[in-house]
Each structure stands twice: as C-alpha cells, then as structure tokens.
Amino acid sequence: MSEPAKPPRPRPVPVPDPETAPYWDAANEGRLLLQRCTRHGHRQLYPRPHCVVCRGPVEWEEASGRATVYSFTVIRQNMVRPFRDLLPYVVALVDLEEGPRLMTNIVDCEPDDVAVGAPVRVRFDEVTEGVRLPFFLLAGS
C-alpha cells in the first residue's frame, strides 16, 4: 500500500439517551444490565418502557455475564474504518443465560475456535478513553 498510514480511528461508541444511559453507564463500570419484568420475570434487552411480552413494569437487574453463541460470522471484508484495520474479526449473537440476545465481538480467540453453542463470558474492554463495552470471550480462555 502506497497510501500514507493514517492514525487509527477509534471504534464507534454509543450515544446514550435517557432510556439507554443506565445500560451504557453500567457497562462503563463493568456491569452488564438487563431489564426484568417485575410481574412475570421475563428478561429483555434493548431497554423499553415496559415488558415486551406482558406490558408489565420493568426494572434493571445485573446479568451474570454468561452466555452461549447463537450464531457468529467472521467478517473478512469491511471498508469502514476502524473495522477494516481489525479484519478478520468475529461478530456474534450471544444468548445471555437470563434470555436476552446481544450482538458482540468474540475477542482474544482464533476465529476457527468459535462455534454455535459455545459458552462465552463477558469482558468489558475500553474502546476509547472513558468508554467500556461488553465484549465476550470463549469460556475457559
């Protein structure tokens, strides 16, 4: 590449709003939150004003951080910075043991070691100063 090297571009960070700020603020503190229906216990993400099943009231609760891989892909082409500098990387949907499904990256692994159904656990990594996000690791790694 003859193109002069550009400084690394930071990863995108969430712009919290009144509804999502508790989730992103907790992530910054290393805690993974979800919403629990106080009427029948259903857990959900992303946050909404009410339970999406029974429309009952919800409250925040801390998740265990344990999950299993529902599906994953190894991204091998993405022209968008900074991700083009991170290729290849694993994008996954993981099912928290409490129920909600999250998109994340499974990091610190060989892409070939990821499998549907694999157990994973959360780790909060700083992506830019003052912003930590919930990434996942293969359990046992």
Binding site: W24, Y46, S71, T73, I75, M79
Partner: protein, 386 residues
Amino acid sequence: MADGRRAVIAGVATSDYPNLPDMSEYQVHAQAAERALADAGLTFDDIDGYATVGFFPMYAVQLSEYLRLQPHWFDETNFGGASFEVLVEHAARAVEAGACDTVLVTYGSVQLSAMGRRLGTGGRGPAPSGPAAFDQLWGNTLVGSYALAARRHMHEFGTTSEQLAEIAVTMRTHAAFNPHAQYRDPITVHDVLGSRMIAEPLHMLDCCVISDGGGACVVTTEERARDLPKPPIHVLGAAHAMTHHMNVSAMPDMTVTAAARSGPLAFAHAGLTPADVDTAQLYDSFTITVLLTLEDLGFCGKGEGGAFVEGGRLRFDGALPTNTDGGGLSACHPGMRGMFLIVEAVRQLRGEAGATQVPDAKVAVAHGTGGMLSTGATLLLGTERP
C-alpha cells in the same frame, strides 16, 4: 369492490441496466416510466396514482414533480428491498377501492455509478444511538447479518455451502440468457466456494451484484385494461410482514423470515397453495435469502431448503423455475430489487421471458425481502381472473 375494478398489472418495464454512468437516478425513473406506459398502451395523462420509494423522504412527491404528474393518490411505504411488492399491493387495493384508477409505480437507482463498490458490504457510519446502538458497535455488515442467518441454518439443519452455491450457479445459468445481465459467464459450485470469503460462511459469489437500474409497472382496473394491448396480469394475493428493523439481535429466529407470515396470508388471499406456482421470483440479496424464502413460503419444510435447491430444481427447466432473469446474484441489484421481481413475473406470465420462458406459466410469486432479513412482501400474480 365494484364490478370491473379488480386490480391488474397492465404494463411493466425495466430501465437500461446494469451500468448507467451517464444517467441520474431521476432519468432512470423516467425511462422506466415511459417504457412501462408504452407497454401498457397508456400515457402520463392516464395516471392518477403514483408510488415510489427511495432514500429520501417525500420522494414520491419529488418524483411526481419531476415526472410532471398530478396524482391524487400517493404511496411511498418504505419496506426496504420489499417495498415495491408492498407498493403494488397498496396500488391494487387503491384502484379496487376506487381511490384512483391507474397507478404508476417506478424505481430508479444509480447506486453503482454514484457510490461504486465502497458500498460493497454495507458497513455503517458512526454515532450509534437509541435501540440501533446495540447492533452498531461491532463492525457487523449487511453481508454479516445474512451470514449470521446462514450459519444458524447450517447449525440447525446441516445446510451446506455447496447447497447455497447451487442457488448462485442457477442464477448465473439464467443470466447467461439475459443480454443485460451484469455477469453472464457460467460458474460452478467450485467457483462459488473458491471465491473470496466476505463474511463467513458467505463468499463473494453468495452475494448480489451492485448495479444501476430501475423499473416500473402500471396497475389499473380490469375494466380499464380491457382495451389495452397486453393481456392483463391479475393481482391474486398480496401480504407483507416484518420481524425486526436493522437489529438482527431482535430477530426472534434467524432461520425464519417475515415470509413465513406474508406468504401464508398472500396464498390464503389468492386461494392458492405453493403447489399452484409455476415460477418464483424471489429476492436474492444473498443465496441464503432464497433458501429461507423457499422454506418460509412453503415450497418445502423448514430446514429442507438445502436439499430442495439441489439438482437444478430452481433452473428454468426445473420444477420451480426461480429468478429467470438471472436475479440480483448475477443480473442486476440496484439496492431495492423488488421491482425487477414483478417485471420478470409479469413477463413470464405473458410468455415474454425469452430463452428462460416457463411453458404455460399461469401463476407466479414475487417475494421481496428488505433490510437485514427484516421485511417480507409476497405478491401472487396470475393470468386468470381469481
């Protein structure tokens, strides 16, 4: 509905495609509109309803100004790639209800010339907020979303990359007969599996092409169509549904698309079953899109799509000729391909499909899929009055 107001498609056309460096997207709309009206034996003066959708709001109003139309019925429902099936459904219901008599539906895009291949994997910009932020932080791509579905389908049902590749090979077989198709050289399953990996398990040749192009159709009443030149194509059934917006993490089951709801509704509306369908025009953004749609529309059971597409079943000379123009995988994909599905379905039903004509085709399904496997819209079209 009043007698004679049953909705029919009286004219269809595609614009030039797939590479239009000297045209604006507005010119593509205009060219497609003029051709579809000529095909219908009508003029702009006959149009009192108009529908389109694009990337900007008030697009139908903008295009009405550009085309110098003064309709009194409009629609620009944005259902992503499935939009044009929805617009034709709405147009059909509008003419049947008497809200207007003749609706022009147009589509135009110069995605390839304007943006080039940088759009290739549908990467996203920064500043993620609200619900969308939950999926926007991880470098997922449009291809990646469909790859997540493909991987899950493989896990649950043992579907293979070879089976997905069969779909791409069949579309290329059809594209070879389409002089306008973007890619026409034959490919093999081996070629698909050997092409560059974009988002595992989807290879480059599992992905649609990026094109310029557009199309148009004219929806009117059976009575109005009676003295028009082309045989009317009846809108037998139509329905649409969604599972999620752009967050694939919100899709309840990544192996079940909105077609599982829109399909049965449309077939019930038409009083038909999948066994009645002579040719299928299915949105093929990716090979997995076709496989999931076949299952969800009921052409085979859930999980049976891999075996179903083997052995050339989707070829023009197979049991369910599918995407007989070469599809988005090989012929043309300007971003919202739904209009091309309708045009090809109508051409098949009129016997105008050339080398890939399905003998005596009487019923066609056109099914659009939009977003990140988010939306689905089914149209059942036929040569005979329902």
